[in-house]
Amino acid sequence: MPRVTDEHPGVYSRYARRYARLVTMPTAPTAPALGDVTASDSTLRRFLHGLPGVDPVGLEARAASLGTRSIKTTAKAYAIDLAISMVDLTTLEGADTPGKVRALGVKAVHPDPTDRATPATAAVCVYPDMVAVAKEAVAGSTVKVASVATAFPAGRAALGVKLADVRDAVAAGADEIDMVIDRGAFLAGRYLKVYEEIVAVKEACGSSARLKVIFETGELSTYDNIRRASWLGMLAGADFIKTSTGKVAVNATPANTLLMLEAVRDFRAQTGVQVGVKPAGGIRTTKDALKFLVLVNETAGTDWLDNHWFRFGASSLLNDLLMQRQKLATGRYSGPDYVTVD
C-alpha cells in the first residue's frame, strides 16, 4: 500500500495552493501552524467552508462496502489482538468509585487472567477526580490514563472552569486529556472561539499529556460539519480527533469514522503532521471493531494501525474481544462467566 508522500500530496494541495500565502509549514511536529488560516473568524470560515463537500450517500455506501470485508483466521487473530491493544477502557458514570476504577485498571493491564499473553489495553478513561486512583492501578504497565475534561460531556462551562478541569487532571498524572468542543459555538459558526478554546486546552495539557478532541458528531449532525470540525481540531493542535462522548443518541458510526480517517490522511499529506482517530460509543462487538480496523487499513493506511494513532472508546467491547480471542485459541465459544465483569 503506497504511503502518502511528498510526491502524492493528496486531495488538499488545491487548498494549500489557495492558501499558500497564509500557510506556514509546521516547525515542530506538535504545532501544525497553518497559522494565518486562523488569523480571524472570517479566514477560518473561508478555509473550512472551502473544504470539499461530503456526499452522504456515497460516504455511507463506501463505509458499508468496506464493512463486507471478511476477516478470518490469521487476519482475525491479528486484528483482535490489535483491537484489544487499542481499547480505551472507559468508565464515565456518576457512580464511579475508587474500587470500580481500580478494578478497571487491573483489567486494562491484564484483560484476560487466563491468558497472560493477551495484550494490555491502550488506556483507561475516567473522570478527572479518578485519575490518581487509575494511575496507581496501572502503575508499572504500558497502560495510559486518559481523563475526560472541559466540563464533559456537555462542555457548557466558562473557559476558566474548563481549563481548571484540565489542569487538575494533568496534575493528577493524566497521560491523555479527552476534551469536548463547544458545539454551540461551532453550530453558531463561531469557529474561532472553538479553535481558541482547543488551543488553550492544548496549552494546559503541556508537553506531558496528549490531547483528544471530541466533536460529538451526533450533535454536529452533518458530514460537512464533521469534516470541518476535524480540520478545525487538527489546526488547533489536536493529537487525536474523537467522534463522541458516548452520552448522546448517535455516537461512532463507520461513516463518520471513515470521514475522520480521510481527514487525518489528508492533513498529514498537507502538513506532515500525523493525528490519531478515536471512535467512541456504540462499538460493542468484535465484528464491529474489525470493521473499524478495515476502515483504518484501507483509508488512512497501515501507519494508523497502532494504538498510538487509533483507539476505541469502549467498555463492553473488551469482553467480546476476549471471548472471540478465546474462541480462536480453543475452537469453542466460552461465555460471559469466563471473562471478568468490570
Partner: protein, 483 residues
Amino acid sequence: MTTQSQASAFAYAPAPESRAVVDIAPSYGLFIDGEFADAAEGKVFKTVSPSTEEVLSEVARAGEADVERAVRAARKAFEKWSALPGSERAKYLFRIARIIQERSRELAVLETLDNGKPIRETRDADLPLVAAHFFYYAGWADKLGHAGYGADPRPLGVAGQVIPWNFPLLMLAWKIAPALATGNTVVLKPAETTPLSALFFADICRQAGLPRGVVNILPGYGDAGAALVAHPDVDKVAFTGSTAVGKEIARTVAGTRKKLTLELGGKGANIVFDDAPLDQAVEGIVNGIFFNQGQVCCAGSRLLVQESVEEELLDALKRRLGTLRLGDPLDKNTDIGAINSAEQLARITSLVEAGEAEGAERWSPACELPSAGYWFAPTLFTNVTQAHTVARDEIFGPVLSVLTFRTPDEAVAKANNTPYGLSAGIWTEKGSRILAVANKLRAGVVWSNTFNKFDPTSPFGGYKESGFGREGGRHGLEAYLDV
C-alpha cells in the same frame, strides 16, 4: 495493488466462499418446452471458469433445428399464457423471484465461477437485482391497463432474446421478467461463455411450475442467435451486446413486422467538476470503470475532470487503486476478478497497446496477476485527448481514459462527442449545475454524484449507437406490448 500473497501488517487471510453450495452437472442440454434435450445435431461446447480455465461443464450447442423447435414450443405456449389473467401470471413471477432469493447464494457462486466476476458483486449486486426485477414486473402483470398503453394492451407473441456474458443472469432477468409479465413467451440465447446461470434459471422455471414452453433457453453461439433473430415466427427481438452485432440484427429485422430493442455499447463520460465531493467522486470513478472489470456497457470509461482539480483527483485515484484487491473471484475480499474470456482479454490488450502507441500515458498500480486464467490489471490512461482511440472505442475492460476540461460547456461538448450515448455521470455539490448539465447530455442514463446504480423501476437504454428502446420501469413494458 494488494494481492493476497503480499505481506502487510493487516493482510486479510483468504476468505473463499464455498463452492459446495452449487452442484454443476458434467453436461447440460437445451431447455425446450419444459424439458432438457440434446441439440438436434448433437453438438456441444465447453464452458470454462475464466479465473482458472477449468472446464465447468459441457453444454448442448443449439443450431437452426433447435431454434425451430424452441420457437414452435413458445408459439404453442403463447395461446394459453397470454390468455391467463395478469394476476395469475404475476403469481408465477413472484414465485420465480422468491426461488431466486432462496437460491441466491448458489446462483451467486455459479455466476462467479462461470463469469469470473467477484463474489462480492454477484452476491451484493447481480443477485439482489435479479430478484428485484422479477418482483417489480410481477407487480405490473395485473396492472397493465394502468401503464398508459390503453385499457387492455396486448402482448406481441414470441420474443427472441439474445443476451451478453457480462451480467448473464441479470440480463436474463431484464429480458424475461417484462416479457412474461406482459403475456409473451420467450426463446432466450445466453452467451456462449456464460450459459450456466440461464440453465439453472430453466430449472427454477420448472421448480416454479411455469407452464411448458413459456421460457425456452438455447445455449449456443452467434449462429444460433442469428437463426433466432431471423426466424419468421418471432414477433419481437431484444438484444443486448455489441454495436456491431446490433447493426447486423437491425438489418436482419428491417422490413419485417418484428419489434426490436437494442441495448449496445457505450463510452460513458464521468464528469468531475472542481466543486465535487472528491472522496466520493473517487469511489464513483472506481465503481464506474472497475465494477465487473469494466465489462459494463454503461461503464464510466472516460473520466472528464476539470483541469483545476486534475492533479489532486488523480493522486487520490491512484492511491485508491493501490488498495484494490485482485485475485480469486470466490474470495469475499476480492474487488477485481477475471476477464470473461481469452478473446475479450485479447481485445482489451490490443486497444490498450493502441493507446500507448498513440502516446497516451499508461499507469497501473503494482499488481501481480495470477498465472492461470484471463486477467488484466486496472489501468489508467492520462494525457488522453478526444483524438485517441482509447477515448473513442469501447474497450469493455478495466481501462479508464482521463481527459480534462475547463468549463461546463466544454465538458458537455466532450462528453457528447462520441458515437455512443448510453451513460454519463456528473459530480458536483451544486444542484443547479447537475440539472443544467444533465439536460444537455445525450445519454440514456445520467447519474449525479453516483455511478452504476441500477434499479428495476428506472428505465435504462441508449441514444445514438448505444441502441434504442428502454428496459426497466414502466417504459420497459412498452417493448413487449402491441402499442
